[in-house]
C-alpha cells in the first residue's frame, strides 16, 4: 500500500478509474502537442503520447488531485520528447544554427502587408505546415514559447540552452515563419 498523496487506501481498480477519468480526456491535447514537437510525425507522436501517459500512470500516486492534470501531463510529454531529442541530437550537427542569417527575405511580410490582413485570410493549416518545415532548432522553441506559452527561462531550462540562445532562436524562427507565410500569401493571392 502506498502512502503517497493520492488516495493511498484506494483499491487498484478505483485508482485506475480515477487516473483514466482525469488523464485520458487530455489525449487529444497531448497528441496535438506531440505532433507539433515532432513536425507532424503521427507514428512518433502516438508513441510519445503512450510513453508519457504510462509515465504519468506510474507516478500517479505523486499527482495531487485538484491540481492541473493537463499541465502535468503536458510537462511529462514535453520532457519525454526532450530526452529523446537530446539523445538523438547529441551528435554534432553539421550546421551551426546560431550562425545562420535569415537573409534578405526577412521582414518582407510586414513590408507587403503592414496591417497584417493576411493573418485573417491564411488558414490554420498554413501556419501548422510553416512551423513543421522549420528545423528542430527553431521549431521546438517556437512550439514551447509561442504555442504552449512557456516563458524564456522555462524554454531554456527545458532545452538545456542559455536564455540568450532561446531569444535568438525565437527571433530567427519567427522571421523564417514570416518569410514562409509571405510566400503562402503570395501564392494564394492574399497580399494587398
Amino acid at each position: 500500500m502506498t502512502n503517497g498523496m493520492n488516495q493511498a487506501s484506494e483499491s487498484g481498480d478505483d485508482r485506475r478509474r480515477d487516473f483514466e477519468s482525469e488523464a485520458l480526456p487530455h489525449l487529444d491535447a497531448l497528441y496535438g502537442l506531440a505532433l507539433r514537437l515532432t513536425a507532424g510525425d503521427e507514428a512518433r507522436s502516438e508513441d510519445l503520447v503512450q510513453d508519457a501517459v504510462l509515465k504519468a500512470w506510474r507516478s500517479w500516486d505523486r499527482f495531487a488531485i485538484g491540481t492541473n492534470c493537463r499541465a502535468w501531463l503536458m510537462t511529462i510529454l514535453r520532457n519525454t520528447f526532450i530526452n529523446q531529442y537530446r539523445r538523438d541530437s547529441s551528435r554534432p550537427h553539421p550546421v551551426d544554427f546560431d550562425e545562420i542569417s535569415e537573409g534578405p527575405g526577412a521582414g518582407r511580410l510586414y513590408d507587403a502587408d503592414p496591417e497584417g490582413r493576411v493573418f485573417d485570410r491564411l488558414v490554420n493549416e498554413h501556419v501548422v505546415s510553416a512551423i513543421q518545415e522549420l528545423p528542430d532548432e527553431f521549431r521546438v522553441p517556437i512550439v514551447l514559447a509561442d504555442i504552449e506559452g512557456l516563458g524564456y527561462q522555462e524554454v531554456a531550462y527545458t532545452l538545456g540552452i542559455p536564455v540568450g540562445t532561446v531569444k535568438s532562436r525565437l527571433f530567427r524562427g519567427r522571421k523564417r515563419l514570416q518569410t514562409r507565410l509571405h510566400r503562402f500569401a503570395e501564392e494564394m493571392g492574399y497580399l494587398p
Partner: protein, 96 residues
Amino acid sequence: MSDETRGGAGTREAAPEELSCEESLALVYEYLDGELPQDWNDAVRRHVEKCRLCYPYFDFERMFLDYVHEAGQGTARASPELERRIRDLISGESEA
C-alpha cells in the same frame, strides 16, 4: 545572476527615459513576450505609443504572435486505437 545569457531583470542596467527606434525595435519580441523588466517595458511602451514608425510594426508583430498562438494549436485528435492501446497497457500494469 551576473551571467548575461540568463537575461531578465537582474542583468540589465536601468532603462533610460527615452529610447530610440533602433533600441525599441531590438526589444520588440522581449517586449511582446512580456520578458522585459518593468522599467524597460515602460520605456519601450512610452516610445512605441508616440512613434508613428514603431507603433504599426509592433502592432503587426503582436498580430503575428497571436496568429501563431491561435492557429498553431491545431485540431488533431488522438485515434481511438491509441486510447484503447493505452487503456490496455494501464490495466496490464495494474494487474501485474
